[in-house]
């Protein structure tokens, strides 16, 4: 079993012992089983799947860091994380559209704004796709 915790600045979002978890990182998605070697990795916005017995919990997460500690302890430090069934797909879609409009409009943008907006679009795409994927389950 893995002791798995998702922490956001808003508080602890998920804490449980689980069988395995798939985490989107900048180097590609990784699946963590118990007794994984210690790893620190940067997250990318994407879909995170937690497997516990026959249950699967799907979340959309945005950027952050994952820390896999010895003895099967895993911490995900993410800016935001949402369960698939809590995502309001229409709102995510709208937010994405807004971000894209902003993106198109502001041509002479500072690099940092550019990166931020891009990250935002990425995040909203993930949110709406994860939300839609599991909407009817």
């Amino acid at each position: 079993m893995i002791t798995f915790t998702i922490v956001t600045p808003q508080g602890v979002l998920y804490k449980d012992s689980i069988d395995k978890v798939t985490i989107p990182t900048q180097a590609g998605a990784i699946t963590v089983y118990p007794e994984h070697i210690p790893v620190v990795s940067a997250l990318r916005a994407g879909e995170l799947n937690i497997h516990k017995g026959n249950d699967v919990v799907n979340l959309a997460i945005s950027t952050g860091v994952v820390e896999i500690r010895p003895n099967s302890i895993v911490y995900v430090l993410a800016d935001t994380a949402e369960r698939s069934n809590e995502i309001d797909v229409d709102r995510a879609e709208l937010a994405k559209k807004r971000a894209e409009e902003l993106f198109a409009k502001e041509e002479k943008m500072l690099d940092i704004d550019f990166a931020r907006l891009q990250a935002k679009i990425e995040k909203e795409i993930v949110r709406s796709s994860v939300g839609r994927k599991y909407r009817n389950v």
């Binding site: 922490v7 180097a27 952050g64 800016d79 940092i112």
Partner: protein, 319 residues
């Protein structure tokens, strides 16, 4: 006498109305304060984990990251957390008083508080100060004392979200990276309990483990778990994609979370000092009503006595 009684009655009415308002504000502030304190506690684990991770990355060995760079302090950015609205007792006055005292102590302002074994650049005492205001009242403070005021954020939420602070942290980080500022401080009110708050000034940039630690320890109630137990040697860790990316991801997050914490604490303190101020106002209104009621009764009694005396006098004159 009768005229007097009427005037007193009017005053009682207005005092009662005031009391109703202050009482309502007191209750609202109490509820908001509870929420703000809870939010401040919730960020604790995130902040602790991020800080620990940074600690264990032992970043002090190779301080080649722009957010850790030490420069002689020539220009300082101070993020002052004040309230948008008044009627909160000495909340803003305390923040401003303390901030002013810190800013005037140029000797300490010019120093770098870092771990040993790092070269500290010579310090200057000729320091320029910019104020980055959070809350309307901070603009007034900057104006009064003649500090530059590059921006004021006065549209923050009642219940601040991490997104709200991004514009503030962005400005601080950007200003630090392009070397406009050599040091970034945050001045906020630390929430100890409903009755006591303390103004603190902390260094945000360059990222200082010392200040981060202090801020973490100060959080209300020791609810957070102690996580330092298993500090495995960092050599055993794998870094994906690489150490630099991790540090570059986590450093700005630490700045954000530090500012976020500060704003949450500030909000909690604001509500609690408003609550106390309003409680005092309600109590005073209660006393005033009591006094006025007594006066009114006296006036009324005097009027009755006089009337009886007049009737008795009239009867006596008739017989």
């Amino acid at each position: 006498m009768a005229v007097n009684a009427k005037a007193v009655k009017q005053r009682i009415k207005s005092a009662k109305n005031t009391k109703k308002i202050t009482k309502a504000m007191e209750l609202v502030s109490a509820a908001k304060m509870r929420k703000a304190v809870e939010a401040a506690e919730n960020t604790r684990l995130y902040a602790t984990l991020a800080r620990e991770l940074l600690h264990r990355l032992a970043f002090l060995d190779e301080p080649n990251y722009p957010l850790l760079e030490l420069r002689p302090v020539k220009k300082v950015l101070v993020v002052v957390m004040s309230s948008n609205r008044g009627l909160c007792g000495g909340f803003n006055a305390n923040v401003f008083k303390h901030t002013k005292a810190v800013l005037e102590n140029t000797k300490r302002l010019g120093e770098h508080r870092v771990a040993e074994n790092r070269d500290v650049p010579e310090f200057t005492t000729d320091i320029e100060i910019d104020i980055l205001g959070v809350g309307k009242k901070s603009a007034w403070f900057a104006k009064k004392h003649g500090y530059n005021l590059p921006a004021v954020f006065d549209d923050l939420h009642e219940k601040p979200q991490i997104e709200d602070i991004l514009s503030v942290s962005d400005m601080a980080i950007r200003g630090y990276i392009d070397k406009t500022y050599d040091k970034v401080l945050v001045s906020y009110t630390h929430y100890i309990s409903g009755l006591s708050q303390e103004v603190k000034v902390r260094q945000v940039l360059p990222v200082s483990p010392h200040d981060l630690e202090k801020m973490g320890n100060e959080l209300p109630s020791g609810k957070g778990e102690s996580l330092t137990a298993d500090t495995a040697e960092i050599e055993r860790y794998l870094f994906e994609p690489d150490l630099e990316t991790i540090i570059e991801t986590i450093l700005p997050k630490l700045v954000e979370v530090q500012l976020y914490q500060a704003i949450l604490e500030s909000t909690a303190s604001e509500h609690s000092s408003r609550m106390v101020a309003m409680k005092n106002a309600s109590d005073n209104a209660g006393d005033l009503i009591e006094d006025l009621t007594r006066e009114y009764n006296k006036a009324r009694q005097a009027a009755i006595t006089q009337e009886i005396a007049e009737i008795a006098g009239g009867a006596a004159a008739l017989s």
